[in-house]
């Protein structure tokens, strides 16, 4: 325990979260814990609490554990012991230091990547337990500042990045104009009712990666897809409220997304290369809204590109020459089983694909997902240092020839960017769409 307290002293949280913690009273903590455990958990939570036999076999699943020289404080069960177990054992009678430590563990030392679910003999969903902890922290108003700000943005603007209504339409039309230099009759159809596909993106795309909308437009137009994007709310499929435990806002954001699709009378939603958004639209958000599966079919970019390449709607003029290695994002591989389709796409696009080891469902997490990167710069160093095992994995792929790293997920992209720079791995990062755009046959080539 003294060890844990030392860590507490060393690790202050951001000032806003500290302010939140300073407002806590033992009564409030107990009330919130009782409320969440009693009203919001059930047989699943109880079964996980009663079944765990404390075998420690989940440890090696976690990149934080492996990256901290097997320090048991970072093992999945170790993190649950320091948070949920203790909370239940003490019946919610914990102090501010405990909550401070819980914030750090639940928000910055677990990516909710569910790799440990593959290692627990009982199939205990540790990420779910951590989400219960985050839900409690949310209700105590001690969610880290940056990700809380993102949740506020969702609440106010229905998108993640405070993008205003006119800015969104402006950005899309700007990219349309830009892309018309390349394909003169290119359109990014806004609000086109009855289209086959509604294409949705995450707010960072219009905010600072507008070229991805440009590339998507080129791909859609070349493939002759009947598509549209919403001009109003619902264009953003991202969802950080899901990770802060703010389920109510998660529900509102997802409802807006599905309602946009329904307003536009599309047959399906195709989403860009983002993992957490897929989790939100096709796993957590839909469930919160009472849909066991999404009310409108949701197709992730990997699957969409797979279909385009398989059906010949997109043809590759010249394959990407540099050897690539492929990162399997947790939310679309452990979350949606798209690993083989991702490999098909990679092999169609590139001359050589070097496998990371481990790969597919067993790939190491990027360290950024689960809202960890969204907790902001205060935790950047602990995030990159907490994932040295990923750097080793990348160095290994590099030693076998890889020069480019494909990460078909925004969070993974940003997290791997930090790891590649911090450890000087020297791999070039790409989305699939970057390579498709670079290598595909475009109309004027035809």
């Amino acid at each position: 325990m003294s060890e844990a307290q030392n860590l507490d002293n060393k690790n202050q949280l951001d000032t806003a979260t500290e302010a939140g913690i300073s407002r806590l009273t033992p009564e409030k903590i107990k009330k919130v814990v009782d409320c969440v455990i009693k009203r919001e958990t059930g047989v699943r939570f109880e079964t996980y609490m009663q079944t765990c036999i404390h075998c420690g076999l989940c440890s090696e699943a976690c990149h934080f554990y492996l990256s901290h020289d097997n320090d048991p404080h970072y093992s999945p069960a170790g993190k649950i012991k320091q948070t949920i177990w203790e909370l239940i054992k003490r019946k919610g009678n914990v102090d501010r230091d405990f909550i401070r430590r819980a914030v750090r563990i639940a928000h910055t030392e677990c990516n909710l990547c569910k790799r440990c679910a593959l290692y627990c003999p009982f199939g205990i969903d540790i990420a779910y337990m951590m989400l219960v902890m985050r839900r409690i922290l949310h209700k105590l108003a001690v969610t880290p500042l940056y990700i809380q700000d993102t949740a506020h943005s969702h609440s106010v603007t229905m998108n993640q990045m405070w993008v205003k209504g006119d800015e969104w339409v402006d950005t899309v039309q700007w990219q349309e104009e830009e892309a018309q230099d390349e394909i003169y009759n290119l359109r990014i159809p806004l609000e086109k009712h009855g289209s086959e596909i509604m294409y949705s993106v995450i707010a960072p795309e219009p905010k600072f990666q507008a070229q991805l909308i440009y590339q998507a437009a080129i791909i859609m137009n070349t493939a002759g897809i009947d598509w549209t994007m919403p001009a109003g709310v619902g264009w953003d499929n991202s969802d950080m409220a899901m990770y802060t435990g703010d389920n109510e806002i998660m529900g509102r954001v997802k409802r807006a997304h599905f309602e946009a699709a329904s307003r536009l009378k599309v047959k399906k939603i195709v989403m860009g290369e983002c993992g957490h958004a897929y989790r939100s639209v096709a796993d957590m958000g839909n469930r919160w809204l009472g849909w066991s599966m999404p009310p409108v079919p949701v197709v992730h970019a990997i699957e969409f590109y797979y279909d385009l390449l398989k059906s010949g709607k997109i043809k590759i003029a010249k394959k990407y020459e540099k050897p690539v290695t492929l990162h399997d994002p947790c939310n679309v591989v452990r979350g949606a089983g798209l690993h083989e389709k991702a490999r098909y796409v990679a092999n169609q696009l590139c001359d050589k694909v070097v496998e990371m080891i481990p790969n597919r469902e067993h790939n190491y997490c990027c360290g950024a997902g689960g809202g960890v990167i969204n907790c902001g710069p205060a935790f950047k160093l602990s995030r990159t240092e907490g994932n040295s095992v990923k750097a080793e994995q990348l160095f290994n792929a590099k030693s076998r020839g890889a020069m480019t790293l494909i990460a078909p997920c925004h969070n993974c992209h940003s997290g791997l960017h930090d790891i590649v720079h911090h450890y000087e791995v020297g791999l070039e990062l790409k989305f699939f769409s970057d390579i498709i755009y670079e290598c595909m046959e475009k109309p004027e080539d035809k």
Binding site: R39, E40, T41, G42, V43, R44, E46, T47, Y48, Q50, T51, C52, I53, H54, C55, G56, L57, S59, E60, A61, Y65, N70, P72, H73, S75, A77, G78, K81, A117, L118, Y119, P121, F122, G123, I124, D125, D283, R287, S292, M293, V333, R334, G335, A336, G337, H339, E361, H362
Partner: protein, 219 residues
């Protein structure tokens, strides 16, 4: 001593079996009632096919990545659980008692083998205990209850082995054996030993989620 023997072999044995069976029964009822309350959706995702796929996979030694990562632990844990479940049921001494009481009998283990299997259970408990102390990642998540559970599991086998081999006072040892066995039975539904039952549910749920919803492997 006879009175104590009669009491332990009679009413107490009945009490232990009733606690064991009714405890498990009540746990199951509780499980099904609760799953129908706030988390009814869990049933919706349940899949017999993928649930069984996951259970069979994890009940097969070395069939999962994590079993392969820990070969010694895997061998010990599978042999331990096998011996733990098989030995008491097919022990000739136990079958004889049931035969005498209800004229029911079935195949029994050769005594030498039963002895060996008993020693394996005891040895495995020692192994698990040492592992809890030696391995930092296990020590960190271990508390006193884990050692108590190991003692509860090992005790009937230790006392049974001593009683059968007539070491120390055989009658006292037999009483101790019956008592410790009864404690073990009664403890199963009310401690984390109930993983014997809950394993199938948590495993099947995770298997269903991965197979039916996530289209990925959970091993």
């Amino acid at each position: 001593m006879n009175v104590i023997y009669q009491f332990v072999a009679g009413p107490l044995a009945w009490a232990a079996f009733i606690l064991f069976l009714s405890g498990i029964f009540l746990r199951m009822i509780q499980l099904f009632v609760k799953v129908n309350q706030p988390e009814k959706f869990l049933l919706h995702y349940f899949s017999l096919r993928y649930g069984l796929r996951s259970i069979i996979r994890w009940l097969t030694p070395f069939a999962t990545t994590n079993w392969r990562k820990h070969p010694v632990f895997t061998v010990v844990t599978f042999i331990f659980h096998g011996c733990l479940l098989i030995t008491p049921v097919f022990l000739s001494g136990h079958v004889v008692l049931i035969d005498e009481a209800w004229s029911l009998s079935w195949w029994t283990l050769p005594d030498g083998l039963a002895d060996l299997m008993t020693l394996i259970v005891i040895g495995s408990c020692v192994f698990f205990g040492i592992r809890r102390i030696v391995r930092p990642e296990v020590r960190f998540v271990t508390d006193a209850s884990d050692f108590i559970l190991l003692v509860i599991v090992a005790a009937p086998f230790i006392t049974g082995f001593l009683a059968y081999n007539q070491w120390f006072g055989a009658t006292w040892m037999t009483i101790a054996h019956m008592l410790s066995g009864q404690i073990l039975l009664a403890a199963i539904p009310f401690t984390r030993l109930n993983h014997i039952i809950l394993f199938f549910f948590s495993r099947a749920y995770m298997g269903s989620e991965f197979g039916k919803v996530r289209h990925a492997r959970d091993w």
